[in-house]
């Protein structure tokens, strides 16, 4: 793809992600960390997040499977998941996590179930969006060689 075209596309996608609240400032921190020594850092971290975060959701589902039980435990797991999500700047996911935690604190099992559903949805949606974005981003980065140029 032609460089300018790529640039525009990347910029557009990126803007969308931020404008729609999928990503926050932390993602920019990640991008800033990408450099020659780690030319695929962002992708690496995102992949890491997705391969790791699955277990959180699994655990929560497992616990919730048998009905309302240990809200504190659920809260703890979700807290960790939230921390992880926040480290890649997954804004919407983070928000849904908080929602889940609120329900836990209130002992609201149904609320928890709903919130979990939202979390999963956002989690999956972000994944798709990031995959697309990162593809373009990565090509562009390779061409331009520096993160600043990618963003300009």
């Amino acid at each position: 793809m032609e460089r300018n075209q790529l640039r525009r596309q990347a910029a557009y996608m990126r803007k969308a992600l931020f404008d729609q609240g999928d990503l926050d400032d932390q993602f920019i921190q990640l991008e800033d960390l990408q450099d020659e020594a780690n030319p695929t850092f962002v992708e690496e971290v995102v992949n890491l997040f997705y391969s790791d975060s699955a277990r959180f959701i699994e655990n929560i589902e497992l616990i919730m499977h048998n009905g309302p039980s240990d809200f504190e435990k659920l809260d703890n797991i979700m807290h960790q998941f939230k921390g992880s999500s926040s480290s890649i700047g997954a804004k919407k996911v983070k928000k849904e996590c908080t929602q889940f935690q609120e329900c836990c604190k209130a002992g609201n099992f149904e609320g928890c179930k709903k919130a979990l559903k939202e979390v999963k949805q956002e989690h999956a949606a972000l994944r798709r969006k990031l995959e697309s974005y990162l593809q373009v981003f990565q090509i562009l980065y390779k061409k331009l060689g520096h993160i600043k140029r990618v963003r300009s």
Binding site: F41, E43, E44, S51
Partner: protein
């Protein structure tokens, strides 16, 4: 010497004074602990971008173990609060007690009570996740602050210089204002108060709720100096305390330490005790009352053992007449060496530390053991007699002994008896190695830098080609040293694990495979349990192979191919893939294993299972090699 509060110090000297190089905080050695791999990776990168040397660990227990094994190998610890295996605050406490390193907590939880908990548990700072680069950049301040605290104490004792004291106090004030959750402030003020009034300070101190005193090597050395000076009969806590001149120490601390010392000397013959501690009755009451309480004594003074090991090693160093002309990064080291040397006269009455050890031992061995044992007379050497009865060989004796101290001493003796000629060089190397961990113990997360990371001030030129060869691609100098001293560490670990059993210790085997492997090479002894991929590993660091390559090689050659199992398209596959997550099979990847984990990723692994399986086959490993006195990381205390 004025201290400017900015990253670069215009320091007059690299070695003395504040001990910081001109490049500081470049090369600051950070240990980051977090069970979240995403966060860990990000932290690693951020810290790497600050040109710090990063070691990452996803398990608190392993982190603790790493810290214990690498005393003075880490400048600051950053730990998550919520971790599955150990509460972050507990880790914080332990680190504070055992190693007295600055610890920074981090968490997504920013609620006041959690932050408060961090402060009260002694955290230097509290970072809210997601952590930003700006927050990371300034962590060096905590190291400086802490060093200033310690430096003050030492200068106090060593130079007795009023100027230094004033200057350092001034420095305290300058540096104190920048941290958010600043422990340093209260500490510095407290110390100032304490120093101002020697007589009253102890009362003040004892009424404060202060952390339990850790009897580090330096403290112990001062203690022993004081005791020696006073003479056994006069060595009462109050006088000892006065002589020691450590502000934060109370009479009670000294008194209890004295008691502990007594505990450990009860097995000695009277003459030896007289030599070092005076007649048993004089200061210690009825020593015989202590007989048979080995285990308790052991438990009580466990902390001391590690430091004693350092002293043992120091003693051995001195004993080998090594002119260790190393200017070590901290005063501590010098203390140890200085302390030991005066004691190394063979006129000492032989202490029969081998009380209970059968005379079926080779008399020559026994003699040499005794000889070296005398050196360590004042150390906490405790011999559990019953366990050793049936073992004619020293190996087995070591195996069955339950105290590190004993092991160290006996092994050391073996070293001395068998390999004296080798000792100096090895020792020097080990000392140097220990003194210069920073150049190597780090990962290559630093941009495209291939140059040296933090070159510690104390790098002497002689015989340490180890250091210069290493690119920032973290690989342990130890792997190349192939010295018995180095490997002894591995043995210590092995013994410890064997003796103690807890899982947390066992994995350390993995860390020292390299060492043991070298050991095998050196001594031509086969230790099946510790065999590892030797050719691969011994070359890794020097060649500066890129991290990803190393990781893959390392994996494929030994355990099930973890990399192969990786499903996600990560380029620099870190070791934190889910397939790796197997709670029971992890290794602490300490700096010594950097050949395998160039990122110095301390994490258990399937590798460990393989190693452990091998380990299980062999019962005793260490004894044969006769090392053990040189627990590297405890050297530069």
């Amino acid at each position: 010497m004025s201290l400017e509060v900015k990253p670069m110090f215009s320091s007059s000297s690299l070695k003395s004074g504040d001990g910081f190089s001109d490049q500081f905080p470049v090369g600051l050695r950070v240990l980051v602990v977090d069970d979240d791999p995403t966060c860990l990776r990000i932290m690693e990168k951020m810290l790497g971008n600050c040109l710090y040397e990063v070691t990452k660990c996803n398990c608190a227990e392993l982190a603790l173990q790493y810290l214990r094994d690498n005393k003075n190998g880490v400048d600051v610890v950053i730990s998550d609060v919520h971790m599955p295996d150990m509460d972050g605050f507990k880790l914080l406490e332990q680190v504070g007690l055992e190693m007295d390193l600055p610890v920074i907590m981090m968490s997504a939880d920013d609620s006041k009570d959690v932050v408060m908990k961090g402060v009260t548990h002694g955290a230097c700072d509290y970072l809210i996740k997601p952590v930003r680069m700006e927050a990371i950049k300034n962590i060096w301040q905590h190291v400086v602050r802490k060093k200033k605290h310690e430096g003050k104490d030492k200068d106090f004792v060593n130079s007795g210089g009023v100027e230094d004291e004033d200057q350092k106090q001034k420095v305290f004030e300058d540096g104190d204002y920048s941290s958010s959750a600043n422990e340093g402030n209260s500490n510095s003020r407290k110390r100032k108060v304490e120093e101002d009034d020697d007589a009253e300070e102890r009362d003040d101190v004892s009424t404060h709720k202060k952390p339990r005193v850790v009897w580090t090597s330096e403290l112990h050395v001062k203690f022993m100096n004081a005791v020696d000076k006073l003479g056994i009969e006069k060595a009462v806590p109050k006088k000892i305390l006065e002589l020691m001149n450590v502000p934060a120490l109370s009479r009670e601390n000294v008194a209890s330490h004295l008691q502990v010392e007594q505990f450990f000397h009860h097995n000695r013959r009277v003459d030896s005790i007289t030599r070092f501690m005076g007649p048993p009755n004089a200061a210690f009451g009825n020593a015989s009352a202590f007989n048979g309480v080995d285990i308790q004594g052991l438990a009580a003074a466990r902390q001391l053992q590690q430091q004693n090991l350092a002293a043992i090693q120091a003693a051995a160093l001195g004993r080998a007449s090594t002119k260790v002309s190393v200017s070590l990064p901290s005063h501590d080291n010098r203390n140890i060496f200085n302390f030991e040397n005066p004691r190394l006269n063979n006129d000492n009455k032989q202490i029969d530390l081998l009380h209970g050890i059968p005379t079926t031992m080779d008399p020559k061995q026994l003699a040499s053991l005794r000889q070296s044992a005398s050196t360590f007379g004042h150390m906490n050497m405790h011999v559990p007699s019953p366990a050793v009865q049936n073992n004619p060989s020293m190996n087995q004796m070591l195996q069955q002994s339950r105290i590190q101290g004993l092991n160290g001493q006996s092994l050391n003796a073996a070293i001395n008896s068998n390999h004296v000629s080798n000792l100096p060089a090895n020792v020097v190397q080990s000392v140097l190695s220990t003194a210069i961990p920073s150049t190597v113990l780090g990962r290559n997360g630093i941009g495209n830098v291939q140059g040296p990371v933090y070159t510690s001030s104390s790098v002497p030129s002689s015989g340490v080609g180890l250091i210069t060869e290493f690119p920032s691609n973290s690989f342990s100098f130890l792997s190349n040293s192939g010295t018995p001293a180095v490997t002894s560490k591995g043995m210590f670990q092995n013994m410890k694990s064997e003796i103690r059993g807890p899982r947390a210790l066992v994995p350390s085997h993995g860390a020292f495979n390299e060492l043991n492997m070298n050991m095998i090479q050196d001594w031509g002894m086969q230790n099946a349990g510790l065999t590892f991929e030797s050719p691969l590993r011994s070359n890794m660091g020097v060649l500066g192979i890129s991290p990803s390559t190393l990781v893959q090689q390392g994996f494929s050659s030994n355990s099930k191919n973890v990399q192969g199992q990786s499903k996600s398209p990560i380029v620099n596959s870190s070791l934190s893939e889910n397939p790796l997550r197997n709670e029971d099979e992890r290794i602490p990847n300490t700096g010594f294993e950097n050949g395998l984990f160039p990122e110095q990723y301390i994490q258990e692994d399937d590798l460990m299972t393989a190693l452990l399986k091998q380990q299980d086959g062999t019962g005793h490993v260490e004894g044969e090699f006769g090392f053990g006195g040189f627990h590297l990381d405890t050297l530069p205390q």
